[in-house]
Symmetry: C2
Amino acid sequence: MLNGVHWIAGESVSGDRLFHANNPVTGERLEPGFPEATTGQIDSAVAAAVAVHESRVLFPAEARGRLLKAIARNLEEALPQILERGVLETGLPAGRFEAEMGRTCSQLLQFAETVSTGLFREPVMQSADLQREPLPRPDLRRRMIPLGPVAVFGASNFPLAFGVAGGDTASAFAAGCPVIVKGHPAHPGVCELVGEAITSAVEEAGLPSGTFSLIHGESFDVGVGLTSHAGISAVGFTGSQAGGLSLWRIAAQREVPIPVFAEMGSANPVFVLPEAINESGEEIAAGLAASVLLGVGQFCTCPGILILVRDENSEAFKASLSRELFQGPAGTMLHQGIHAGYQKGLQEVAERNGVELVGKGPTSSGSCDAEAGLLAADARRFIDDPVLQAEIFGPSTLLVECDDLEQLLQVASVLEGQLTATIHATENELADHPQLLARLEDRVGRLIFNGFPTGVEVGESMHHGGPWPATTDSRWTSVGMSALERFQRPVCWQGFPESLLPEDLSADSGSGIPFRLDGKWHGRPSI
Amino acid sequence: MLNGVHWIAGESVSGDRLFHANNPVTGERLEPGFPEATTGQIDSAVAAAVAVHESRVLFPAEARGRLLKAIARNLEEALPQILERGVLETGLPAGRFEAEMGRTCSQLLQFAETVSTGLFREPVMQSADLQREPLPRPDLRRRMIPLGPVAVFGASNFPLAFGVAGGDTASAFAAGCPVIVKGHPAHPGVCELVGEAITSAVEEAGLPSGTFSLIHGESFDVGVGLTSHAGISAVGFTGSQAGGLSLWRIAAQREVPIPVFAEMGSANPVFVLPEAINESGEEIAAGLAASVLLGVGQFCTCPGILILVRDENSEAFKASLSRELFQGPAGTMLHQGIHAGYQKGLQEVAERNGVELVGKGPTSSGSCDAEAGLLAADARRFIDDPVLQAEIFGPSTLLVECDDLEQLLQVASVLEGQLTATIHATENELADHPQLLARLEDRVGRLIFNGFPTGVEVGESMHHGGPWPATTDSRWTSVGMSALERFQRPVCWQGFPESLLPEDLSADSGSGIPFRLDGKWHGRPSI
């Protein structure tokens, strides 16, 4: 069933420098081996993608919608094989794969629906006014076009929803860009299966094969080769800060720099104010522990820092939190690299001056099994030591204890960029401290009240992004329909007659795309 | 009238390391001297701007609109002094200052109008659905907030419209960001006068003085200090490629990199096809010469490369072009640096292998007076030698002669990123070569048919941008209302009760800002 191949412009391609995935539960090496992409293979994939972009075959909305729907269909069909292999490669439970497949396909179909409405492309036109003084006004028509071939680096922690057919790929296709995915080496089998589903979908949608390629690589060289290739126009990445920032730097050093949209996770601070602890400390502690433990802490929105004020209730809160965190083994992490990184990160922070290791949970015997961790530090230490802000990717959290609300505000002021910040408070309590909201808003992409940061809704109001270093560019989201805006750019056509205009810039073509002409919308749903 | 001062958070501030502007016509040094900003002065300006941003006083649309209108009013009043000094500092005719003041004020008022409609901020909201399976949906509300303090580097060639109160400043204020302008050292007197007008406007609008600062500097250090300051969130720049790319690199090396929106000009290639030359060669040659000579060639949209096919009419076209270009002195350039750069650039390209200097125009006797230049090269040479694509900032153009339309398409394929590309052709002729449009569209921000690239309309359909190296980010425009989108970013508020929401995220506040709630627009003008 699995052949250990790249999918390059419609062809399955093998190689001889092989790497293998491992079963994180048993430590066993999984067959088959997968090839490292060569420079020549990267060139072939990119050349095919460039040709597709230049042909403009992905520009029409209809082609993009057809492709997205075909991918969703093929993925659903391939679920049994993907699930079977995925459980072996990731240690994730089968139910998680089913749920993630639901999210992945619904995301593809949402993009297909959005594309069909013409939203996000929306041309804006102004008619010529040749009588205008002092100078005549030319006919001007502006619309978005796809940026060009996009390189996607899938995440290890969401092998489907942020993987080969995940949000970055779906949004790049929705924008009309050919895609080349560098598969995550921790689950190459899942990558091959999903890549096969997309390759078939491209053919079924009647599109040229260069629309999609999947290449494998365990070494950093493959990612470097892809990101620095002159034919690549943008990069989508979900993963670690080290990985994302490396790609960003490579892209910035190109002769023609390109945008790298890296969503790199963050520490997702949670502020628990005194009245909230007083009113419902137990419940908040239970919710926070569940959020820390969710997916064995391997979510980019895992709450890694909890800030509270030391008072007569805070010790009880801390005890509840320990109890909830340590009630059982935290589970199997995705692969040895993540597992080792978690242990190292936890130890490094625990050894910082003024940090106390409050406790560790039990563990079970699997090769990548993790134990939950709870650290604590005085706010003064936290404010002075930026190392304490580092994301420890895994099921641990750092309790930061403040003398008073004034110091809690100081903690808010030194935070680096975050995907999210959460506040637990009573309504009155927070109304008395509006500065907290302002300070946090300047540092995050999403603010949460009396909730938990894990669980990222796919919807038009979501923003999954945030200031550096949570992402490389705070103005974009990697979740939700707006994600496609990352992969397009405006072009203005001036003075062209109707016969020479592209369909979507013609007011008379009947393309069905909503447009704005001389200040008035045409065909835009009034909803 | 002029005091040789910075305007730092409402105060006029002098210094002792002084530099002077020169009159480009007479070469005479102009009094007074202007101070180089010190590190301490940069710190003061940025600290004041950060405090204003954190106070959120610029977030309400009403405050932003009031400020923009007050600036336009004060500038109009200061026109006589600005004009008197501006003519001395730039050599530009008085009429040019009047026209540019019109554009500058109308731009400010357009932004005020746009801000008042709430467009570009448009919150998108989804109500909670606590019954949803498998998980309840939280209440989610997303809207744009200002990025934070913006550093603006004004251009020398549009001392008003792209200067201290130009498009970058206006759009940053419109987005709700405090602004610190680094004035252009070629016209510090104009900068001081415009800075004074803005400083008064900030006070009249009842806003804190840190909303705006103007600092001077002739050395590169001042720009470096400002761009690398931790309190700056974004940079707007209009000017040379060398200057823009330097700032971009400095910003990329910061601990927290920030976006630099640099509009750096380009060679703006013009393709003149055989039938167009046959039908109206004389007229096109006259139009192109006028476009090359406009503003002594000191426009970022100056057509610096003309591509045509060698045939029985092309020599006559070349002769017409020479005649039109060389019929009089080209005029006085803005300052000695630009004048010297023009002469050097012209000579460097003229000395490349295979390039012919077809001719130079007459010159007059001013210290910065320029002569028009016409260069020619075979398309083969152009394709092989990237140096021939460099923008020569001034009144010259390079004629690229092709054997046939196939070779002309090859020329289109090797072009680097451009603000604009122009095609002169008959409708049938271009319809026969659709590849030309596709290849050019991938390389430009604006395509022009049977027109000229100079003259950038301020309107909602305009796009003044383009792929690297014309700008640092092809997805944004520096002209038109969309320019404000560069300086804001989305934030999502999850689960907040009405009482804790900012006014513009409340569906009930009656703020007048249009919003989308559960898929339906409220208060958005249906035009």
